[in-house]
Subunit: 342 residues, 2 copies
């Protein structure tokens, strides 16, 4: 089957198509006919050599996958050939990537695809949704009626963060960089979308929270937004960031506020081969919320095929995309529902 | 009644004795005949003007108190005149301090003194014990069988941290700076006391945890120990520090480990006048653990009276003390039990 590989992690080597031999699943694995994948910042970092967690040669990247099960390992329970699944299941250390027509992965990393989504919609979700879930559900434990601030509410992780916090009963404010993104954030359920280029943290803390600050701040962007998160959180509050690497914020504000900082890296189960079923469990619960209408993916309008993965990476790097960038790989990427087996 | 005051928060003004008029307790307050107080680093910082949280003139410092209730406000429940109490109840913004023969404080901040302790022993505990409690019980939520590393296990907060983590079923390792302090840490229940001057973090992580790191790291010292905490914690682990102000650690290790950093400031209820009953509840449960023998105070051998509070501050600043420095204020500071009213 066709797949895309890199000859090196140097940011220069292009993605090249090659004929990848079909591997059969091991006892705890499934083989998937890949219908769609999507692009995440970590894929770019791996390609550039900035995140030393890439898979070995032939270096097939791609974490997110949605597709149809082609074969099931002998110890796997709960999945059958022909069923549609989605997951963040490969593309890092020792694991087959999804920029490929066929991939083999650990069955515990995937879950049944929500029937109401096409594969291209489902492939947009796993990495960003698991990240937001770990941040807001497992770490911050957002409570009903709390005020939650999401930095980057129209972004990949952010757009799920806004919807998830809202679905948990929180009052969600978000920072964005344009009117267009503000409109998207409101559509996703934000009560307030703040243009951070036009308003200082102190101003919106005063105006929106009476100077008290937010119970939870979820930083999906990093850099100056992490420092701003320390300002924006209230006394006894919680901050979760997905972008701690390279940052060295002054912890003084955390100290004076008796506050907490969580740094989430959702790749941990794949990198350390531990708690793999965590991903499958989160995606199963996420699927229920998708079916009930509380969460939907935000997907950029541009379309990319398997051989366009390099262009898709460039597009993500440009910062011009709105929502997730999906790679259509199979012929059924657009089909919904797919396939109605169960 | 006699009390000690400062004319300024400049680090130079001496403590001066003065005759402080007796105040009667407000509806939610109690008046306490102070038998003993103790010295904490925050008192030094307030005196130096480094922590802008000192009480207004006449600037009577002293957070920790143990003594006998002299009068009870009309709305106070659960306390009677003559009962012995202990607490971290004043010496900051808007609150009367304990370097005084009599103080008035909010009744929710204190609890009944453990009968098995004298007032001088009880006065050593509140600030450090509430800090350790918030760090290990409320924040880290230490679980039985977890490996906990306490930086500074023979120090004020650290010696309670070692005992509390041990009482929660954890395996407790601690870093100390001398053989003498190592012996103390073993006596307090540490399974391993590591001299951080003789061993690198990587070495003790390898030797003591097989390279895995600690489930929980409790940093009671700050500075380089905070950076070391980020190294010493395991994947998915939790760090709690009491000394975040002024630190700007690189968060990269937190990110790669999907880890958490909590910064604890136990003064919050007193500074913001919120959740005051948190302190009373913690001290009530602490008292039960003291009576059952799981926790005991570590008190330096040198004795100081009320007029020696300046010398006590100097002694704390010297770093030569072993355990808490107590100020004996009343005639019954040494009595045990005191008084057996209930």
């Amino acid at each position: 089957m066709k797949a895309m590989k890199l000859d090196a992690y140097d940011g220069k080597a292009p993605f090249e198509a090659f004929d990848k031999p079909d591997a059969e699943p091991g006892p705890n694995e499934v083989a998937i006919i890949v219908e769609a994948s999507s692009v995440n910042p970590v894929d770019l970092k791996i390609r550039q050599g900035a995140a030393p967690v890439g898979p070995d040669a032939p270096r097939v990247l791609g974490c997110d996958v949605a597709g149809e099960i082609a074969a099931v390992g002998e110890a796997v329970k709960g999945f059958r050939k022909g069923e549609a699944v989605y997951g963040c299941a490969g593309g890092v250390k020792g694991r087959d990537g999804a920029y490929s027509q066929r991939m083999v992965c650990d069955a515990r990393l995937v879950a049944h695809k929500p029937e109401s989504l096409s594969c291209r919609e489902a492939a947009a979700l796993p990495l960003v949704a698991i990240t937001a879930w770990e941040a807001l559900v497992d770490r911050a434990k957002v409570q009903p009626g709390e005020r939650v601030l999401v930095h980057g509410g129209a972004g990949g992780v952010g757009h799920i963060g806004v919807q998830l916090a809202r679905a948990m009963g929180a009052i969600v404010h978000t920072t964005v960089s344009s009117k267009e993104k503000a409109a998207i954030a409101y559509d996703l359920g934000a009560e307030r979308a703040i243009n951070y280029r036009e308003k200082s943290v102190n101003d919106y803390i005063d105006e929106e929270t009476g100077g008290e600050g937010y119970d939870v701040v979820f930083d999906t962007i990093g850099g100056p937004h992490l420092e701003k998160s320390l300002q924006a959180v209230k006394v006894n509050g919680r901050i979760v960031t997905t972008v701690g690497g390279g940052a060295s914020p002054d912890l003084g504000p955390l100290h004076m506020k008796n506050a907490r900082l969580d740094v989430v890296l959702m790749l941990i189960p794949m990198l350390y081969d531990q708690d793999l079923d965590l991903h499958g469990r989160i995606l199963t619960r996420l699927a229920r919320m998708i079916e009930s209408g509380s969460i939907k993916p935000l997907i950029d309008e541009r379309r990319f095929g398997l051989e366009d993965v390099g262009a898709a990476h460039e597009y993500l790097d440009s910062g011009d995309a709105i929502g997730k960038i999906v790679i259509d790989i199979g012929e059924n990427a657009d089909a919904r529902p797919f396939p109605p087996l169960r």
